[in-house]
Amino acid sequence: MDLKRRDFLKVLGATAAGSLLPGCAGETKKLIPYLLPDEEIVPGVANWYASVCRECEAGCGILVRVMEGRARKVEGNPTHPVNRGKLCARGQASLQGLYNPDRLQGPLQREGARGEGRFKPISWEDGMSRWVSELEKHPGGAVLISRPVPGTLARLFSTFIKEISGRLLFYHPSAERALAAANHRSFGIDLLPEYDLANTTYLLSFGAPFLSDWLSPVHYGFAYGRMRQGRPTVRGRFIQVEPRLSLTAASADRWVPIRPGTEGLLAVGIGQVILQEGRARLAKGDRGRFEKFYSAFSLDQIAAETEVPREGIIRLARGFSEAAAPLAIGGGSAAAQTNGTNTLMAINALNLLVGNLGAPGGIRFLQPVEGFHSAQAHPVSEQALLDLRGFFKKQKRSVLMLYQSNPLYALPSSTRFREVFEDAAFVVSFNSFMDESTALADLILPDHFFLESWGDFLNEGIVPTAGLAQPVVIPRYDTRPVGDLFLSVAKRIGGRMEERLPWIDFRTMLREQWKTFLARRERDKSFEAAWVERLQQGGWWGPEGRLVSVSRRALPDAVEPARFEGDPKEYPFYLSLFESMGLHGGEGANRPWLQELPDPMTSVVWGSWVEINPKTAREYGIQEREIVRVISPYGEIEASVIYFPGNRPDLISIPLGQGHTAYGRYAKGRGVNPLTLLAPMIDPLSGTLATGATRVRIERTGRRGRPVLVDQTGEGTRRHPEGKKGET
């Protein structure tokens, strides 16, 4: 008999269950498909699948709780060295990406003019043929802009693009290219380091938003908790230097509101005091070089430039140099200037002065996981993207491919990056959502969501870690994994391409990659056993890796002042754009949980706002919640004002992430995108966009806005209930 007994019983069960629900036809549709030959789905019993979170570039290990074939909850993988069972708001909200009502459900082809936004569904067969024929029509002209995908996919992409002599750009706005450039120049290492926060006793941070969106926020959040209360007698001190009191600064013991662009100078001043007071822990050979460098600066002048009083600088220098395990880090607003790389180098020099490289509580460059074949995905800076404009102009008809990247939104309009789209002969997007860039595509071949796909992720720094991602749910829509697409095209192209990429699908390629890798790590086990074990664990991570030795101890070439676009007389305010907690650079804007997540500092939800120091606002006669116009030489936006006591009086700050013109119902048309204000100012050393280098002015509109605050009145928030206990 064909029908197995077991299946028969299931049919019986389903029929019985169905007959119990006579009146509700709607309910029966939701009846769990018992007939599904999936042994793993047992109603009411949760399965846990390990995977890797891809909501930001940190690559935290996750466990996904799956019940009845649906992902219910994402939690941190307790054994994963990056996040140790913890998970941030965005990671939690990845489920709303998976089940987002605005996900692209199948391949689409443009109708009408490009950018008109009309698409019609096509079959995968047609879509693939279209893509291949376009690739063949424009040999050597293909460009793939992908988010960084360190791992097997990066290898696939780079092999593929190399074979068609195209260009591959890994790009993500928050890839901290300035930091990489600075570390390269200071220490001669092309790696992101691990900052050993947990063992630091004095953390001096120049704008690094490590508690919200910097490098690996969960990892550093965990370390921060340890730094504060993880040791029985020591509580690490933490000073944050930045013009705007950010979420990270809110946790600091002291906030130093420095003038934007002068962070490097302050670092130099601190270094000078340390040297002068004889507390530098330098190698003999370095001393002369350092003294020569630092003696060129006048502390009073630094105090005047930075607007940090001389005594304050001395205090910082003493606190920093006297600490048992001091650490200086820089990023965020400090790096967002035209002198960002030099600033970060000046900060690196502080670490050199106290000699904390490789020390507990200091900076450690760790060897990443070894044994993967060419799987690095070094991100590029904005400059490299902007260079594409010339390439497309010159090359004329070439093919632009987008994978999980939305450069049209992430780059200021003043960079005229749109020209690339206009000049491209054909634009293919593999994105899962109809974002701004995808809306300009000619062909959309949507990828699976990461919770539906195979993948791996090589974490930089920390301990050698390779996360392994597996599909936790059956793909919900008619989407295809991007790896499979490239492999099948490789097959169609044939020849050398097929030789280099012979795998039948991406999963096979991934297994192959891991087979080589695991063969060296776990010799005593069969591959299948080791593979299943790795899948269960969510990847491979070894013991603490080797420290990479520092080959260089360089000082900044120059500590020049930051350049700003806009005449200070006409545009009296500095501008600070920051990533909001939930939305980050805007990727989170289509997740309702994140839209409704109150901004921790202002409690605003579902919108944009402009932060102004209350004193300044009153000088301008601006009421709280009034709509103001922020004007730069390049554009203007309007948003409601929130009084923000943590802003310098000469600073306007605006969160990133809103103002989408596409990207689904929750994001589209909500708030403003402050990137439109920005001048195309680039930090020449790293090629990163200097988001803090544009000056603005404000104008009253007299209209009252309706920002939505969870702290409804915003009035009573100055009285902390702890104070009621009479403690201080």
């Binding site: 965990f222 509580r235 579902w606 928030t717």
Partner: protein
């Protein structure tokens, strides 16, 4: 007066679930908030409802500004249901929808609630949230809903449960094995996600649990404890 017996009392006396929140660790990152939304099927209010002050956050990060520029400071305080030992919200409920469980939880029985909303008024922490409308999820966001947790219908009060579904699960497992729930065996979603480990959950009746030990810290205080609510959450003061 009548003491009521817990039929399923664990060996060694009842549990008393409690939490410690270390404000010196809390960075206001709000991972707990989204974790709670995901675990407890908390409705998405939307902009319109949120603008009416109806956004639901069973755990919310209260932010308090102190001082003016340049000495401005911010303090964060996660506020969730304090599961008061002597809860003001409980006796005012005319239908026993709000009551005290033997293991120290301040429980809300949704299907009893008729929506008089007195409990919401009488809670000094303002942590009770009301279902003003039938909750709605745009398809297929509803596929994420946790089957272990009720979706609250229109007209009932809701609030933090300390993830009672997890607690009951752990208790049943422990009961089957004839033991007490081990320290750290069960954590609410917020505690589980907290990157800085600012939140700690456990049994206050177990003197060796992390919660019991931490709550004896000198920095410990109960939020508005002067009201005599006997909160189950101990806050540890932030050091400045």
């Amino acid at each position: 007066m009548v003491e009521y017996r817990d039929q399923n009392a664990p060996p060694g006396g009842p549990y008393r679930w409690g939490m410690v929140i270390d404000l010196d660790r809390c960075t206001g990152c709000e991972a707990c908030v989204v974790a709670c939304h995901a675990e407890n099927n908390i409705r998405i209010s939307g902009e319109e409802e949120a603008s009416k002050g109806r956004a639901v956050n069973w755990i919310r990060i209260e932010r308090y500004w102190e001082g003016e520029y340049p000495n401005a400071q911010v303090k964060f305080m996660p506020v969730l249901c304090q599961h008061c030992g002597s809860a003001p919200c409980e006796p005012v409920c005319p239908v026993y929808a709000s009551y005290h469980t033997p293991d120290g939880l301040n429980a809300q029985v949704y299907n009893r609630c008729v929506g008089v909303r007195y409990c919401g008024n009488n809670c000094p922490y303002t942590v009770r949230y009301f279902n003003w409308f039938e909750p709605h999820w745009d398809e297929p966001l509803n596929e994420q809903l946790n089957p272990d947790v009720t979706v609250r219908s229109v007209g009932v009060m809701e609030k933090c449960t300390f993830c009672v579904q997890r607690i009951r699960g752990a208790q049943q497992t422990a009961q089957k094995e004839g033991r007490r729930v081990k320290d750290g065996e069960v954590t609410p979603a917020c505690v589980q996600s907290c990157p800085t480990e600012a939140l700690v959950f456990g049994d206050r009746n177990d003197p060796n649990s992390r919660v019991s030990r931490l709550s004896k810290d000198d920095r410990g205080f109960g939020l508005l404890e002067e009201l005599g609510t006997e909160p189950s959450i101990t806050y540890l003061k932030r050091i400045k």
